[in-house]
């Protein structure tokens, strides 16, 4: 069973006056089949956690370990992490001019699966996945994220999630900027993948709204670069009622 273990993770970024520590000792274990919601105020380091796990070069790990089934994730390059089964659905997916969605998806699936998917079944697979996410088939011929609306970008991220079938999915504020319909469609996509029971999900969000569609097993409150409190779904209800006030007092945010 796939397990992502984060232990005492410290991460800093290069700032104008030297390195600034953003993650200050994160401990978290995500197992296959589990869904963990990470909630927290702006600037608490949630997204830094997501990007650090994916290996973004902007972030420097200064301490701690991350392992996936015992393998050292931090020693892997960005593409190796993806091939090992870590997937990051980004809050702001990047435009890649000149590369069509269909070409991108196929190249990516080939890299992740270790062999080129058979053309006939692949076309069908993509078509069906797109239909489930209510994406226009013409979408496949557009350039990656170029001119996509916010909702289209997020659907495209979830489309990749469905096709690439990672072991661990990190969803970084996938709900931000979505209207209710788009949120529902995107959430349904995530749920389809979760129902397979083969994926561990790290759902990073600022709002409790998405938790009405995607039910977490665990809720963690992130503040000042570490997990301040952990609990079950009931913790989300508490946050809904009381906000993050209790966690940001005393200048605990960054």
């Amino acid at each position: 069973m796939a397990t992502l273990e984060i232990h005492d993770l410290h991460v800093s970024v290069e700032a104008e006056n030297g390195p600034r520590e953003i993650l200050r000792g994160v401990d978290l274990t995500v197992k296959q089949g589990e869904t963990h919601a990470i909630m927290g105020p702006n600037g608490s380091g949630k997204s830094t956690l997501a990007y650090s796990l994916a290996g973004h070069p902007k972030y420097t790990v200064t301490g701690g370990t991350v392992t996936l089934d015992g393998e050292d994730v931090l020693a892997m390059s960005v593409d190796e992490r993806a091939r090992a089964g870590v997937f990051l659905a980004m809050q702001y997916p990047v435009e890649v001019p000149g590369v069509s969605v269909s070409n991108f998806l196929r190249t990516s699936a080939t890299a992740i699966r270790g062999e080129a998917p058979k053309l006939r079944t692949w076309v069908k697979e993509v078509k069906e996945a797109m239909a489930r996410l209510q994406m226009d088939p013409a979408f496949a011929e557009r350039n990656v994220n170029e001119g996509f609306s916010g909702g289209e970008k997020k659907r495209h991220e979830i489309l990749q999630l469905e096709l690439l079938k990672p072991k661990i999915a990190i969803l970084d504020e996938t709900d931000s900027g979505l209207d209710v319909d788009a949120l529902r469609i995107v959430s349904e996509g995530v749920n389809r993948v979760r129902e397979s029971g083969e994926i561990g999900t790290l759902l990073i969000t600022h709002y409790t709204r998405i938790l009405r569609y995607i039910k977490p097993d665990y809720v963690h409150v992130f503040a000042a670069g570490r997990i301040a409190e952990s609990g079950g779904p009931e913790l989300a209800d508490k946050l809904e009622a009381e906000g993050y006030e209790a966690y940001v007092k005393g200048g605990a945010t960054l």
Binding site: D79, M90, V96, T107, I112, N143, L164
Partner: protein
């Protein structure tokens, strides 16, 4: 640095009054090299070019001490001749527009003339292999396509040379000519050439310029319409590496009604001091009613240290046109794009290849010659691999 120097100055310090044939050139076109002052590098048409790397082609010090081997392979129905300077057919497409082209015109000894008789439709391309064997050379080529004939000509430049040349295309009424000019030189070569097409009534000219090699390549693809109804498509691809200077200066002279032109040039750059220059001049004269023109230049900068100068110019002297537009963009392959592709399992070198192939794909498909397309794609791969290594 170059752009801080005022444009439009001439060597004698006076600003030209009265428009030469091309409004942005400081000296009128001429066959005689003596009509052009030696450029000092601040003229509009020279301000991007490192003159010191022209090996004297621009100032009269270059001596024809080298050799360029020209081999023409042609299917039936094509006449290939080597003629002297005095052949009356030479020089009809247009005059040299800068000193180097005029130097070439004043200095060449023999010219190659390729003639496709009227109404001859070739099924195989004519191949002109231009191979530099070192040293300096001046060359002249003429391709003439008779009325209603159809031909594809591939000019392939390889080897090492310091070459100044003029290539003329005279396209008869209703004829169709496609010319692919590949600059696949050794990295030591210097190549300055003017390619001038005179497009006949209802004739179609398609030019594909592909520049990979050379230390310095400076080309002037030019189109002039001899009669109404002409159509010109000019496509270009360049891949500019470390230290290379590749300059494409296009001019389309819409002097005749109801002609069309479409220009699309794309370039990728990588490495320290890679410098690409693209100038797209389109002039729609008062008489050229019904003109339809569009030009586009896109550049993709793959690494730090590269430089692009892209200058589209559109000058319109009549409002009675169908359309006129231009676009120029220079984008970077950014770390964020690389991260995004890699986060989907795609290795870095493959990610770069994906982006560059995607960038060129549409244009490569326009060539319509499978062997040239293949070669181009493998060339792009090779260039990319060199960058990754």
């Amino acid at each position: 640095m170059a752009e801080t120097i005022p444009a439009g100055s001439t060597t004698d310090g006076a600003i030209q009054v009265g428009q030469p044939i091309d409004a942005r050139v400081s000296t009128p076109a001429s066959f005689d090299v003596a009509d052009f002052p030696v450029p000092h590098g601040r003229e509009e048409e020279w301000r991007f070019t490192p003159l010191e790397r022209l090996r004297g082609l621009h100032d009269g010090t270059a001596v024809a001490d080298g050799a360029v081997k020209v081999e023409v392979t042609s299917p039936e129905g094509v006449t290939v001749e080597t003629v002297g300077r005095d052949d009356a057919r030479l020089g009809r497409a247009g005059k040299p527009v800068d000193r180097v082209a005029a130097q070439a015109y004043s200095s060449f000894e023999k010219a190659s003339v390729v003639t496709i008789a009227k109404e001859t439709v070739l099924t195989e391309p004519v191949r002109i292999a231009v191979h530099g064997e070192g040293g300096t050379a001046f060359a002249h080529q003429l391709v003439e396509v008779g009325a209603f004939a159809e031909a594809v000509v591939v000019i392939d430049h390889t080897g090492d040379a310091t070459l100044a040349a003029n290539v003329e295309f005279v396209i008869g009424d209703g004829a169709k000519l496609t010319v692919v000019s590949v600059q696949d030189w050794d990295d030591t070569a210097v190549h300055a050439a003017q390619h001038t097409a005179l497009v006949g009534r209802d004739a179609t000219f398609k030019s594909v310029v592909v520049t990979f090699g050379g230390d310095l390549v400076r080309l002037h693809p030019r189109v002039i319409y001899g009669a109404p109804g002409g159509e010109a498509e000019l496509y270009g691809l360049y891949f500019t590496d470390n230290g290379q200077h590749q300059e494409h200066r296009l001019f389309i002279d819409h002097d005749t009604p109801h002609c069309r032109s479409n220009v699309a040039y794309k370039g990728a750059l990588q490495g320290q001091d890679a410098h690409a220059v693209w100038i797209g001049d389109v002039l729609i004269r008062a008489a050229a009613e019904g003109t339809d023109t569009y030009e586009l230049n896109r550049n993709l900068v793959l690494t730090d240290g590269a430089r692009v100068d892209s200058v589209p110019n559109l000058e319109i002297e009549t409002g009675e046109i169908v359309g006129a537009g231009h676009a120029s963009t220079t984008g970077r392959f950014e770390d964020e794009q690389l991260f995004y592709l890699m986060s989907r399992g795609i290795p870095a070198d493959e990610a770069r290849r994906l982006v560059v192939r995607g960038f060129f794909a549409e244009l490569v498909q326009q060539i319509g010659l499978p062997d040239v397309e293949e070669r181009l794609l493998s060339k792009i791969e090779a260039e990319l691999e060199a960058s990754v290594a």
